[in-house]
Structures are given as C-alpha cells and as structure tokens.
C-alpha cells in the first residue's frame, strides 16, 4: 500500500484545514481534477472535514454556558456539555 498522504491533516489549524477543504470542494465541483487524482483529492477532503469537525467540537467544549438567575441576570458560568446537546 502507498503511504497515507493525509498524515499531516491531524496537525492542521482550523483556518488552514477549512481553506484547503473549500479549495477542494471548488475544484471537484468545477470538474478540474484529473481522473487519476480525483479519488485522492476527495479522500483528502474527507480527512480535512473530519479535522474541522474535531476542532469545532473541541472549541464548543471550551465554551462556557452562561447561566442566568431568576431575574434574567447572568449569575455565573458552567461548562457546556457538548455530549448532552
């Protein structure tokens, strides 16, 4: 088997991954990808999509949910449990 060309993806920043993903989607939609590379580019796109989703989940988990008291004033924060939403 050939070496996995996507080993760099888990280290990409969100900005870098989404930028490359957008460029891949554009190229696939425009039909400008050679046949032989088409599946490799699609698979890289999938890896980038997973990376973006993972980073988004991590970011969401860091968001602290603002809790309000009975009067509607912010009374504190609690961690957002992403698994329950």
């Amino acid at each position: 088997m050939a070496e996995d060309p996507n080993t760099d993806v888990p280290r990409l920043t969100f900005e870098r991954a989404i930028e490359e993903l957008e460029s891949i989607v554009k190229r696939l939609e425009e039909g400008k990808v050679p046949l032989e590379e088409s599946v490799l580019i699609y698979e890289r796109g999938e890896a980038l999509k997973r990376r973006c989703e993972e980073l988004l989940r991590q970011a969401e988990a860091r968001v602290e949910k603002i809790t309000l008291d009975a009067a509607g004033k912010a009374s504190g924060t609690e961690p957002l449990d992403v698994n329950k939403t």
Binding site: L28, E30, G31, V33, L35, E36, S38, Y42, E43
Partner: protein, 309 residues
Amino acid sequence: MTTLLITHPACLKHLTPLGHPERPDRLRAIERALEDERFQHLLRVEAPSANFDAIALCHPMRYITALRDESPKEGLVRLDADTSMSPGSFEAALRAAGGGIHAVDEVMSGRASNAFVAVRPPGHHTETARPMGFCLFNNAAIAARHAQQRHGAERVALVDFDVHHGNGSQDIFWSDKSVMYCSTHQMPLYPGTGAANERGEHNTVVNAPLSPGDGGAQFRTAMETVILPRLRDFRPDLIVISAGFDAHQRDPLANLNLLEADFQWATLKLMEVANETARGRVVSLLEGGYDLEGLAKSVAAHVGALMQG
C-alpha cells in the same frame, strides 16, 4: 444463442505512463479470467478497425485526423492530465471503436444474442471533440449511432454503470431524443457532471448519482427505482452498456462498494428489459475498472450473466 467476446491484441499496445491505472494488464487479467472452462462457449473474434466514417457518427472528421496526427513515433504524447497516446494508441482506438461496431452488426443481424467488447482505451469521457479521462473515441456512443444508421434501430439506450459519470456520452446525446443515456456513478468524483437534474434537452438523460461509501443496496435501489422504469418506458431496440467495473469495492479510484454479484444482477436486469423490448439485444463495452482482481471477477460475473441470454 451465442455470446460474442470481441477483443484485439492491438489494444495491449496502447501504452500509458508508468504507474497509470489504465494499463494493458487490465485486458490481460480479463483474458485470463475468461479462459475458465465455463466460458468455453463464448464465440471469440478479433475486433476489426473502425473506418473513419463510422467514428464520424459521433466525432468531427477533423478530431479523428488530429488524433491520428498526434500519434507519436516513439514515447508518449500527453493530451490532458490523464490521457496520453503511445505509438500503438491510434490503432488500439480504431479497434476499440471497431469492436463495438462489429458487436452491433452481429447482434442487430441476429447472428449473436449479445456481446462483450473487451477493449481499451475506454470511451465514455470523450465528448464530441475532446479526449479526456483515459478516453480517445467514445466507443459506446459510436456503437449506438451505428445501430441506428446501419441497422435502423429507432431507439437505443446507453446504460453506464462505470463509477465515473460518462460526461462524453451525455454530451453527445444531450439533444438526441432517440438515444437514452442512463448512468449510475459516484458523486462527488471525476468528472463532476451527472447530477440528477441534468436531464438532456428531451428528458432522455437519466442520472442516478450515488454517494461515496454506497454499496450494492443503494446501487440496486437506484437501478430499480430510477433507471429500469425509465428504460422500460423508453422501449429501446438495443441496449448498449458502458461497462466499467470501478464501482467495485476493491477499486483504487473510487469509494463505492459493489461486488461481482451486483454487476451480475445489473446485467441480468438489463437483459430482462432487452428481452421485453429489444429481442434481447445487448452490446456491452468495457470502460473502467482498475483493480485487476476486482475487474477480472466482475467481468467474469458480467459475461457469465450475458451467456444466460
């Protein structure tokens, strides 16, 4: 009745760059698979060369002569990112188109019940005047038009189960209501065409795109709910199959998960329609399929099904 197997050694002499998936070993793998005893009743014939007038049913004469003139004396000449010609490519392309034409002659005249044409280069990406995606002449499209011009077939259906959309065939028949073009293929993938809303000028283009990861169940549903009903309504006088086997789960160029049994099933279903409307006439031409084991087993299943006709 007889199933024809048409091929030609010249098709091995279309050389592609080292490591290119569309390579002569594909035909060698098919040849080995069809040496099995259960294929001993195939009638094996060599593909004649197509004459330029027959190819001109789908491509302008200047396109044909330009390809001839591009042929290198040695080495390879590159036509696009995927497609190249070696010194043997032009003859291979003439034999590939000629194989389909000969199959149509034999099947339309009733001398054979159906035929499989094992040739390369493949054809379904070639548009009216543009070689692309490993393809030089659109062999299946030429076969369909030849059946109309020479044998009086009024309506021909071209069914394409290659994993890539046959943009070339769709382009050629876009405004032709006498040829129905039906395709299952992976989207997104090369060449980017083949959305369900691409229907042709007369609603005779039928695209049933599949998603990466889809397998036999989704493929069979697409055939049964989208393609086969439209074919039955169309009532073709001949079914031409663009038989690519790269939707096989082993194939390196796509992400569908079909198995040999799915190709066998689809072949039998298409033969059912042909029996209802076309006196069983089916002409199948090889398109893609790049994993040698998956290709060989799938072709064996496909040809085995044709032999039941």
